[in-house]
């Protein structure tokens, strides 16, 4: 078996609160292969971003602990690496872009200053060489008039432009993995489509893997090859993108897909999932979705369900549904 570029195994992340530790990410496993594009979808608070930040080890050390799990990147266990190694990996091997392009750029530095910072850090480029590369990168992310834009301060760019600058910073050192944490959420729909298209093209051009985090199933459907659905800190379903939309298994995934507004529907209200996502402090013994689940059975509340394979490449954390589906097919 070929080793994936990034492999997260049984990752658990806990945060310190007044009364002890709460689990924000619980037993999460996922793989990102070379050139893959993996989407992670879930509501706010489902642990998507925490998982991403753990990969780069960017949590406050005093208030976070990772009691179990491994994060392997190209054979290196990132959780055991020294700080200096992590600094080298960040930016040059694994890069990340954030949700809010308005606050992701330093207001007192020009665009060129900020991009060349990464170049200086990882490739030792300074002066004219760095400048040339900056203009090249701005061209690559399709910023018009790159030579002049390079000397602008961030406040003179629109949200979409800033996100392009962020992407230019992220790809400056040709990382092999790009983690995009809700990259289009703060943008309007037209710009959103442009940014996604840009990311798609860059992924091909630079042959990098992308981990796309989003709560928007539409974005995921358009962009990802395989999808991981998270709920309350756990992975509840994992499937290739077409499979997930054609035949969702977990009741939560079914609910999510049903909640996407449809153009051809004349239902007066949008479909919703009743109830709300449990806070990380709430203790739920069995399946974490059971309080909201329409198909709940007594045993769902007794013990936490395990991930089980459903079919090729698809697995879910809902034994009752898998049993029913299996019978129907068999």
């Amino acid at each position: 078996m070929i080793m994936p570029l990034l492999s997260v195994r049984n990752l658990t992340v806990q945060f310190r609160v007044d009364s002890g530790w709460v689990t924000a990410v619980d037993d999460v496993s996922l793989d990102v292969g070379e050139g893959d594009c993996v989407g992670i979808v879930g509501e706010s608070g489902s642990g998507k971003s925490v998982t991403a930040l753990s990969i780069l080890r960017l949590h406050q050390r005093a208030t976070t602990r990772i009691p179990s799990g491994t994060i392997t990147y190209q054979g290196q266990d990132l959780l055991r690496e020294r700080g200096s190694t992590m600094r080298r990996i960040r930016g040059s091997e694994i890069a990340m872009i954030f949700q809010d392009p308005m606050s992701s750029l330093n207001p007192v530095l020009t665009i060129a200053d900020q991009i060349s910072e990464t170049l200086r850090q990882h490739q030792g480029l300074t002066g004219v060489a760095a400048r040339k590369r900056v203009v090249e990168l701005l061209g690559l992310v399709r910023i018009p008039d790159a030579t002049r834009r390079a000397d602008d301060y961030p406040h003179r760019l629109s949200g979409g432009m800033r996100q392009r600058v962020m992407i230019a910073m992220a790809i400056a050192c040709k990382p092999r993995l790009l983690i995009a944490d809700e990259p289009t959420t703060a943008l309007d729909v037209t710009i959103q489509a442009q940014i996604l298209e840009l990311l798609r093209d860059l992924r091909k051009e630079l042959k990098m893997s992308v981990m796309l985090i989003s709560h928007d199933l539409g974005v995921i459907a358009e962009f990802a090859q395989s999808v991981i659905v998270m709920y309350a800190g756990r992975v509840v379903e994992e499937a290739p993108v077409a499979q997930l939309f054609r035949r969702p298994v977990h009741p939560y995934t079914v609910g999510l897909i049903a909640a996407v507004p449809k153009l051809d529907s004349d239902a007066p209200r949008l479909a919703t999932i009743a109830g709300r996502i449990p806070g990380p402090q709430e203790i739920i013994v069995g399946c974490r979705f059971s309080p909201r689940c329409a198909l709940v059975q007594p045993r769902c509340r007794d013990e936490p369900p395990l991930m089980q394979p459903v079919s090729d490449g698809q697995s879910a954390r809902c034994p009752p549904r898998i049993l029913v589906l299996g019978e129907r097919h068999g």
Binding site: L58, R87, E117
Partner: protein, 296 residues
């Protein structure tokens, strides 16, 4: 002298930045900067060139010429010992401006460093801020009084005393700004791109905390001049007969009703210096904020 200096500056800036991108050119166009800068320059020149402007000895006493009101002979009048107030104000500028600038610069640097350390290293934060609270719980002037008294009446001890007294407020300002800035996404973005903590602090956090500190320091300059006056008056600062704006006022206080000019002119000098520094600080604040930079 003044004209020549400004003229050559202006010419140089036109040559250096014909497109209007240069900071210098923007500064020269900024009206409050130019007013503040000119006044400070005038006061500084007056201080430096005092012996040339007024060849009289600032400490020479002439008992027969006590309390002469302002006239063509004594521009600002004379004080209770018959000393020429104009000359004393000129010489006083040396001490007052020096104390003000030194306190500003030293306490500014210390506040920036300590404030950022407190914000960045959370383990030290408690200790640093409690120490600052302890210092702040004394009125600044009382604290300075104690330190100056312990160090002896010298210009250097006045500077040290006032620096210590004004550091806590500066630290609080920098720390508060740094705490806000360090949570901003661009700091995370810098971490994600592999920047070291030192680089993040000096490159991303500190520059974003400077505007409030700068504004604060322009006030500190004025406070420091006034506090120096108070310290001198209380006998732990600059000792008579050396003139500083503060101790001229302090000495003239007892005769305020008969000889108002003794207090008025150094008072005007302090106000002018403080006002022009405020204008300068405002202008610098604008300059440091890229959002307010004009562009084509």
């Amino acid at each position: 002298m003044t004209d020549v200096g400004l003229g050559s500056l202006a010419t140089a800036s036109v040559i250096a930045a014909p497109r209007g991108h240069g900071t210098l050119r923007r500064l020269l166009r900024h009206r409050s900067f130019m007013i503040g800068f000119s006044v400070i320059l005038l006061l500084t020149l007056a201080a430096v060139l005092a012996p040339l402007i007024s060849p009289v000895d600032p400490s020479a006493m002439r008992v027969r010429l006590r309390f002469r009101p302002p006239s063509s002979q004594f521009l600002f009048g004379t004080d209770m010992f018959g000393r020429d107030v104009f000359t004393r104000v000129l010489y006083g500028a040396r001490v007052s401006l020096f104390v003000g600038i030194a306190v500003c610069v030293i306490s500014g640097l210390c506040s920036a460093i300590i404030g950022v350390i407190a914000a960045q290293f959370r383990k030290l934060d408690g200790a640093i801020m409690r120490l600052m609270d302890a210092l702040m719980s004394f009125p600044a002037i009382l604290l300075a009084l104690g330190i100056a008294a312990a160090l002896g009446p010298r210009v250097s001890s006045v500077i040290i005393a006032l620096t210590v007294a004004y550091i806590p407020a500066g630290v609080r300002i920098v720390r508060a700004a740094a705490l806000t800035v360090r949570e901003m996404d661009f700091v995370h973005a810098a971490q994600v791109s592999g920047a070291s903590s030192l680089r993040i602090v000096t490159w991303h956090i500190l520059p974003n905390c400077l505007s409030p500190l700068l504004v604060h320091l322009t006030f500190i300059f004025a406070y420091a001049m006034l506090a120096e006056a108070a310290l001198s008056f209380l006998g732990v600062g600059i000792q008579p007969p050396i003139a500083s704006w503060g101790n001229i006022i302090a000495e003239g206080r007892d005769y305020a009703t008969e000889a108002w000019w003794v207090m008025l002119f150094p008072g005007i000098a302090i106000s002018l210096a403080a006002l022009s520094l405020n204008l300068l600080g405002d202008a610098l604040g604008d300059m440091l904020d890229p959002r307010l930079k004009g562009g084509e």
